[in-house]
Amino acid sequence: MKAYAVNHPIGDMIRGMLPAPWAAAANGALAVGLIAGLVTVMAIFLIWLERKVCAHFQARLGPTRVGPFGLLQPIADAIKLLMKENLRPRGVDNLAYFLAPLLPITGSFLVLAVMPFDHDLQVVDLPAGVVYVVAVSGLGILGILIGGWGSNNKYSLLGSMRSGAQLFSYELSLVLCMLLIVMASGSASLREIVLAQQGTVLDWWIFKLPVAGLLAFALFMISSTAELNRGPLDLSEAESELTGGFHTEYAGISFSMFFLAEFVNMFASAGLGATFFLGGFLAPRFGVPPLDWALALLPGVVWFFVKVFALIFLYMWFRWTFPRLRIDHLLSLEWKFLLPVSLANLLLAATLITFKWMLP
């Protein structure tokens, strides 16, 4: 499998300066460092954003004390969590208990490697990027499962069993939505998917395929909410039922890894949503020349983040509005409703693509 070339000026400069194997190593180290920085900054910013948005949904102020607008609050929280003892309850399975917190964050880290932030701002552009994304995001599920199993607590066990059932089910409709996009774009590379949406706003896949695109977007949002373990589908955590679900027994740095992964996952998932449906890093164009020219002044990476944050706001809005589903309702929602609808939608989209019944 050969990856497409990503020709960012900085990467090209390093390639010009160093011999090939050294340049690859230097570029790789640079990419890993940048992604690690992005993960940290995003997680901290998103924790702050979630607390602020949640507070204003609830007629509160949210963090205000640490730093301007409480911006440094997550850093203070992080320091607190790092200083805490990393508890090991009696009777836990050592390997499982300490391995579990590392897996979800690794999964979201790996997803970000193929995320196209801009035309040439991407770590690697795999031809089968979508397949890769689906594969590595499974690590998160694994982390939750073995964390709940290993921590010798019935609440954790219940939470992880719930999440096992939930995440494997919702993976199906999520993958079907992705399949639809791959079918429409004619490529499984994330960058190719974005580039297939060039043109006006109406060329984005959410609008381009009449009905099917919008429906796929709705299905993507619902099933990715379930994949993210966020309310209203946060059954594996279910604070009011299972106290903390799979991370009941975790404290300190182990807990913060789960916590961090939740937010980085949200970022990765919103990034995928923007890439698949909202034209990724492409600036929106409305077919009005002066306006389009003005909008295109901003670099693609800014547009990418604007779209991502719009989707993140949507996730937060869901979470702070809706009550939680019950586990059997959740599963019948997937198997009796979302999955058939996804299949029908896939069929509809295939028909539309075959007969070219798309918006001009």
């Binding site: 309850p89 009011s240 039922e241």
Partner: protein, 392 residues
């Protein structure tokens, strides 16, 4: 695999079975029932109630409530306090109906000593009791939302409740433990701006209740989670002694305010909302409608709020003649009653409180059998238990 009770030394605390509790044998397919301690520290028991739940997977087989974590022997303490001093202890039973609890003790003393209450005093009692009922239901609504996962509802409920709590603070100086009513009336007259404040609160409340309906009552997830969950048939509810919204949701048309009117409740027009099936949804709807009925009562009371004395002449000491006396009221959770026995002294010989929560809790095993853990949480939430009132 040995029975869980034998391996407690290996696998840590919490694996020994609680006393009086047994699990069935391992079945042929190797599956086994297990038990889960919900509480005394659990987010949805709203206090220190411990539920030992026998589970089959996620299905509830049996629920055994363990009480007594917050037992303070209030009734025994009452025997060492004068009748008036006992009033402030009732604040600490059902702390969301403290005004109404105070009222019940006062009514028993009034019955015993033949003390009358001036008309303004009676109106103050009704207005304050109904405000207390709305305040309690608002808190319940918020907690219900939070238990079912709609955390914003919790804050909205508290936001509205805060207005009434602030009014109580102006009225009697306290927000939770009121100690406001006295035999013959209340300890103080209402502040001058009280009627205006009540009207303002009622206007805000009508708007908020409509908003609450949109956010929670009409939400299909809430409907799916509550409809048909935890059904308690009428006969069973009567046998368990359920009262208040829990009993009325099961179709028991019993409200002390209507069927044994105390104070001046017989002067007001209001309806008693009734459910049909006694499920969580009915309990929810009964409480939502009760808030609207309370608004109706308050509007009528404020329209005809009389002047004059707020308290009949105060006695230097309350020496209750020998005998036994009983008074009952309708708190936000049901029938609250005080039964006092006096031996012609300043202190009660025995004082007994009938709390609605203990009877309502006793139905939980029957209601939650066969449901999921999430259903148990919904049932606990719609029972609207106040744990200090169960233990006393």
């Amino acid at each position: 695999m040995p029975a869980p009770s034998q391996q407690s030394d290996v696998r840590g605390e919490g694996y020994a079975l609680p006393p009086g509790f047994s699990l069935r044998e391992t079945r042929a397919d190797g599956s086994q029932e297990y038990f889960l301690n919900m509480g005394p520290q659990h987010p949805s028991t709203h206090g220190v109630l411990k539920l030992v739940v026998r589970l089959d997977g996620e299905t509830v087989v049996e629920v055994v409530p363990h009480l007594g974590f917050i037992h303070r022997a209030i009734e025994k303490m009452g025997e060492n306090e004068t009748f008036v001093q006992y009033i402030h202890l009732t604040d600490r039973m059902d702390y969301l109906s403290s005004h109404i609890n105070n009222l019940c003790v006062c009514m028993a003393i009034e019955k015993a000593m033949g003390i009358g209450v001036p008309e303004r005093g009676e109106y103050i009692r009704v207005v304050v009791s109904e405000l207390q009922r709305i305040q309690s239901h608002l808190l319940w609504w918020g907690a219900f939302g939070m238990d079912l996962g709609a955390v914003s509802a919790f804050l909205y409920g508290f936001k509205e409740r805060e207005k009434i709590t602030a009014l109580f603070e102006e009225l009697c100086g306290a927000r939770l433990t009121m100690n406001f009513f006295r035999p013959g009336g209340s300890n103080a007259d209402v502040p001058e701006n009280f009627p205006a404040r009540v009207k303002e609160i009622l206007e805000d409340l009508k708007f908020s209740l409509d908003e609450f309906d949109v956010l929670v009552s009409k939400n299909p997830i809430i409907r799916e989670r509550t409809l048909g969950v935890g059904a308690l048939p009428r006969e069973r509810a009567i046998n368990y002694g359920c009262s208040g919204p829990v009993g009325r949701a099961s179709g028991i048309d019993f409200d002390v305010r209507k069927h044994d009117p105390y104070s001046v409740y017989d002067r007001f027009q209001f309806d008693v909302p009734l459910g049909k099936h006694g499920d969580c949804y009915d309990r929810y709807m009964v409480r939502m409608q009760e808030m609207r009925e309370s608004i109706r009562i308050l509007e009528q009371a404020m329209a005809s709020f009389p002047g004059g004395q707020y308290r009949s002449k105060e006695k230097p000491a309350y020496k209750v003649p020998a005998g036994s006396y009983y008074a009952n009221v309708e708190t936000a959770r049901g029938l609250y009653a005080t039964y006092m026995v006096s031996d012609n002294s300043f202190k009660p010989y025995r004082i007994k409180s009938r709390s609605p929560n203990l009877s309502n809790l006793s139905a939980i095993n029957e209601m939650s059998q066969g449901g999921k853990i999430a259903d148990l949480v919904a049932i606990l939430s719609t029972l609207d238990l106040i744990i200090p009132d169960i233990d006393r």
